[in-house]
Symmetry: C4
Subunit: 206 residues, 4 copies
């Protein structure tokens, strides 16, 4: 990207490409999912409510403050913007947040009754924050879906610092983040790959 | 699209792109499926019989009247054109109709013996008409396939107003619609995503 | 295609595009599969032995006579060229033949011990020669694989005229044909779609 | 490629295209996998540690010597570079090595407790070194994953010459090689296709 692009223009471009990538993988069906990027000045660039993430245009990216309020009157952020804001607030290193809906995360979160999925013995789990070996077990917390996002966020708060692979809302999808967009995308790909493995193993009775 | 395009040219372009999208997802194998758009003057633009929906050319889109009769002598609409006409007649808000054949809809409709599939507890079901929460159950009616399309249409008639996610013909495929093409496509993607989830859950004994 | 293209150049172009399509669907892994087209003068244009069907170049298409002998000394046809020649000989209407290897055809042909798979109650089966309703059962014969292609061909001979959807060699793949390339491709897509449905149904105990 | 390209530039181009191909198939999630090419002068061109294999740039390819030491100070090879070097040392005909992580190889290697998977009766197995018929059984050894790559390599050493389809590290992925990049890619596609078949057959109780 050109040196002279503004931080917002750069973030917008990253968000559009991330949306296309997630769409190619089938992780943002219909108008599901949302994508954000923290700007150096603290503003958050995030996808507008209701658009398809595979076909985003520059005008589909808006900015909100740390409380999820749009800077420009009339811009309508998605209700789930609050979950992005929470991640940026709780993790000062977070620079990008991805929320997607895959078949594997949706199905596994609905059939697993315990409060977390566990990823163990996979080489790919080294992509998650602080992981250096496959000989570990990475928990992925499962939260009940709730149309009251503030109430949902409250349940997530105590888990920050203990979910290196992100978290899943039951019947809804994953939240993954990283210091920048490539890191967040790599973690999302890693998590979705491992959930796909987990789903296949369940079909084989494991 | 350019301001000066005719309504028919616009509709044709939308239909071609929708066909390519459905093909990329594997929902229009062989010459299966059909796609239509209601024009402001009441005519219906619809795919010609027998062509592949992933490789449509402009001349593969024809117009029919509300009774499914082609305006231009020699144009051959598919037999299923009547199901499109029925949707436009029954739902005055419908502006686009999509009919696709996916593995998930085909298989689920053949193994489920009750008269409907039920979608419940999924966030994505909010994409369907009038849905605001995952805490609902959306029925998707299943109709027996019939080569006599008029007779098939009669069985569908009583269900209008009660099938926000569209309907499925057993061993055949889905019918989904919306006020415009992006809405219809988003609903189709939502429905196919949820059917894929349902199929995976059945494999796991649910 | 331009009026002035030779028949061979036209056939080559159709074969290259068919290879790319089959590769995009995952039906020609490694150097598997082969593709041919009968020319108006009776020559058969067919893919050379050993090349990847998703990355064919014009020089990867050669011509053979009805007995499978290359017209140009040094051109090496694949051993399976004889199966293409057999189809053109047995079915005078055949203009294009496709041979692909899919996961579904490979797996189903290895687990089904009876001499045929049966496709019934699917709308898509209307894409096959002479089928006008889903209320029929289309048999797809299964032949044992054999590195002696002439011996394999002999076992196929008696079935011509009774296999509208083509046939399958166990652990190997499908043979499908049609009057021209679009027809052959549509039948291949139809067959693979239905085999994918069959495989899913088997997982569900059907 | 142009005559005047250096061997390293040619190898880099082949590695970038191989990465895009593996990514399109879903075999290099996150920053997983690595790809190398032996140059005529004995140097090994290999992907740098930590980058996404689907989005490689020329500067992501570095050169190492036969012991895995980077020629340019500051270039950081991945720890698994040693496994590539081992293959080039043990098999003088090897010109390209591919390491990918697929769902099928990961899942099968974790559920199979015996020391190898066996591929038998598949036509596609003829793509592997020295195979001329489907009537053979090709073993694919399974090794325990180990973050100590030198120790892992020692366990692989005795198997060279007896693994025509490559090998698998449990919960980690496959290593496949060939005399040049197209051969290595064809073998990788062949192996992944057969592992996908094996996984489907296990779901059906075989």
């Amino acid at each position: 990207m050109s040196e002279s692009m503004t931080d917002f223009a750069r973030a917008t471009q990253e968000i559009l490409l991330a949306g296309q990538r997630m769409d190619a993988r089938g992780w943002v069906p219909a108008t599901a999912g949302n994508i954000s990027r923290r700007l150096p000045d603290g503003r958050i660039a995030i996808t507008r409510s209701g658009c398809h993430k595979g076909f985003l245009k520059a005008e589909d990216v808006i900015t909100v403050n740390g409380g999820g309020i749009a800077h420009r009157p009339g811009d309508k952020p998605s209700a789930e913007t609050l979950l992005h804001c929470q991640i940026y607030q709780q993790d000062p290193t977070a620079g990008a947040v991805l929320h997607g809906h895959s078949v594997a995360s949706t199905v596994l979160s609905m059939i697993e009754k315990s409060p977390a999925l566990h990823l163990a013995d996979y080489e790919v789990q080294k992509v998650f924050e602080g992981q250096t070996t496959h000989e570990a077990s990475v928990p992925v917390p499962l939260f009940e879906n709730d149309q009251d996002i503030a109430r949902l966020a409250q349940k997530v708060t105590p888990f920050f610092g203990t979910m290196p692979a992100g978290y899943i809302i039951r019947g809804h999808g994953v939240y993954v983040w990283g210091k920048d967009m490539p890191t967040a995308l790599a973690r999302l790909e890693g998590l979705e790959f491992l959930l796909a493995c987990l789903l296949e193993r369940r079909k084989l009775g494991q």
